[in-house]
Amino acid sequence: MAEVELKNIEKTFFGGLVVALKDINIKIPDGVFATILGPSGCGKTTLLRVVAGLERPDSGEVFIKGRKMNKVSPSERNIAMVFQNYALYPHKSVFENIAIGLKLHRYPMYEIRKKVEEVSKILGIEKLMDRYPRQLSGGQQQRTALARALVREPEVFLLDEPLSNLDAQVRDTTRTELKKLFKELKATILYVTHDQIEAMMMSDFLVVMNQGMIRQSGEPYLIYRDPVHKFVAEFIGPYRINMLSGEIVEKRFISSDGSISIPTNIKKHPGVLMGIRPEHIRFGEEEEIFLEGEVFLIEPMGPNNLISVRVRENALRFLSQEAPDLYKPVSLSFSPRDAYFFDSQNGLRLRDK
């Protein structure tokens, strides 16, 4: 129904002292579940607020469904937003909280009743209609906030870390429910989170942000497999990627302590970081590149163990179902195809060309 497009958005705070958004250019396709992911303070919430119209960009244009929205008020943009702290009206009952948007848009009362009833049934809060927000649990408040957004049937949903105030167990079930719920809607969803697992699990489209800039956007799996920036490689992925410094000389990467040497198609480059994901390293000598090291830490994760191995001056973490003895020499291997190379100065990916 609605495509969201941002063109050359810039936004600064405190008279230019803090740059919140820089050179934001992105087109979020119609009807996708798009997640804006980044560490705290990266500008992701500001980006959402710019789309909502709660924040005016210093320059640049906001388009929703092809229509320029810069001067359109938030209530006219056909959006709905769920705030991190839910922002329910404390002095209004659950019913009034959900119905108020419709009331202000002058819907007839019987229609409001009907719509509120429908939405509250979907979310399972139909028995709480007379309660006040303070009488609700965190999960129920969150559902009420969602209901308030859903009932307006907007073309774009904006969700600002809606799960971050829930405890771990409720969050897990709510995440699944949310994904199911939004699958059935035709609306475009912009979902802000700092939790990369949440982002990977929920979204069709991922936007990774850092320091006010979009580092990479696209399908989550592609971003995981093919990060274009050191930051993206470090941020995306269930376990923190191993980064080794070194340089590329004569089509070989050699780590700074000389322990690792990998062939590559890049001719030469000084100051290189090599990234290899823990899930791509294996025990034994199964892959092309193998290393010798000493186990110094084992972190059990249930089905797998996260094993830290010292290889000369570097520490590598990898994932294995086996639990080797501590302080014993082991051999590891990985495929050079799984290694990424980044410029250590600007963090950009070095390609084989």
Binding site: A52, Q84, N85, G101, H105
Partner: protein, 273 residues
């Protein structure tokens, strides 16, 4: 034992505080001769409504009360209305900027009201607002605005900004946000402010005396001060006390009515932490 001592102490303090009002009430209920009796009789030997009757029927005292209610009520409403709008706007600014404005308003409270009597009189004279309720209402509003702005600004700032934004997306107008969201949620602070402003206006003497020269426009404090006997040498203590007792009553009623919210408002900061 310690508890009992504590309660005894509380009761003593309570009686000590209550004594002036009690004395006023007792004197008001004494017949005129007994007021001047020596030795003093603490409890009236016979209860008489003579003084109350005199205040109400021989003098236009109900008129003074109505005047006071109009002026104090009007000034309180106007003050709260203007202060709410200012505080709402200040809340939208970042804290540093808002405080820069607020510091200037604070200067308004440093100037003693007595100093402003003559300027106010000159202004109201020029506007032909002397002997007019509006003149006094405007003066009281001017005097109370800084205080009310500080109170309400602090109160509004405690509400999360997301409430406004949610309301904006829901389709409220800015004034709608103030009236339907911010003000209902600030009832405790609004009540405290209203009560304090009202009491100030109810008790104010010198401006009322200056700006309202004709007898039909006297407010209660002026009316009480103007009570006099048949000769210069007679001071009608009985009637004065009756008048004072009567005029303290509305204040007590207001405080009682808003008690819950006033306590909530005064302790708000402490509980929220």
């Amino acid at each position: 034992m310690k508890r009992i001592l504590l309660y005894v102490l509380f009761i003593l303090i309570f009686l000590y505080c209550l004594f002036p009002f009690g004395w006023t009430l007792i004197t008001a209920l004494k017949p005129t001769d007994e007021v001047f009796n020596l030795p003093v009789t603490y409890l009236p030997e016979e209860v008489s409504f003579e003084n109350l009757n005199n205040v109400f029927y021989k003098r236009p005292f109900y008129r003074y009360i109505v005047n006071s209610l109009i002026v104090a009520g009007g000034a309180t409403l106007l003050t709260l209305w203007i202060a709410s709008m200012v505080a709402f706007r200040l809340r939208a600014l970042d804290y540093q900027k808002a405080m820069r404005v607020q510091k200037w308003t604070l200067i308004g409270t440093i100037i003693p009201p007595t100093l402003l009597v003559i300027p106010f009189f000159i202004i109201m004279k020029k506007l032909s607002l002397t002997d007019n309720y509006l003149g006094l209402i405007l003066s009281y509003t001017a005097l109370n605005l800084p205080f009310a702005m500080w109170m309400l600004h602090a109160a509004f700032r405690q509400l999360p900004r997301e409430l406004d934004e949610a309301a904006l997306i829901d389709g409220f107008s800015p004034m709608g946000i103030l009236y339907k969201i911010i003000m209902p949620l600030s009832k405790p602070s609004l009540s405290v402010t209203a009560a304090l402003v009202f009491i100030f206006c109810w008790n104010e003497f010198i401006l009322a005396l200056t700006l309202m020269p004709s007898e039909t426009k006297y407010t209660v404090p002026v009316g009480i001060a103007m009570l006099s006997g048949t000769s210069v040498y007679e001071i009608p203590w009985g009637e004065i006390n009756a008048a004072v007792a009567l005029t303290t009553l509305p204040i007590i009623l207001i405080l009682a009515a808003f008690q819950r919210w006033i306590i909530e408002g005064l302790t708000q900061g402490a509980i929220k932490g």
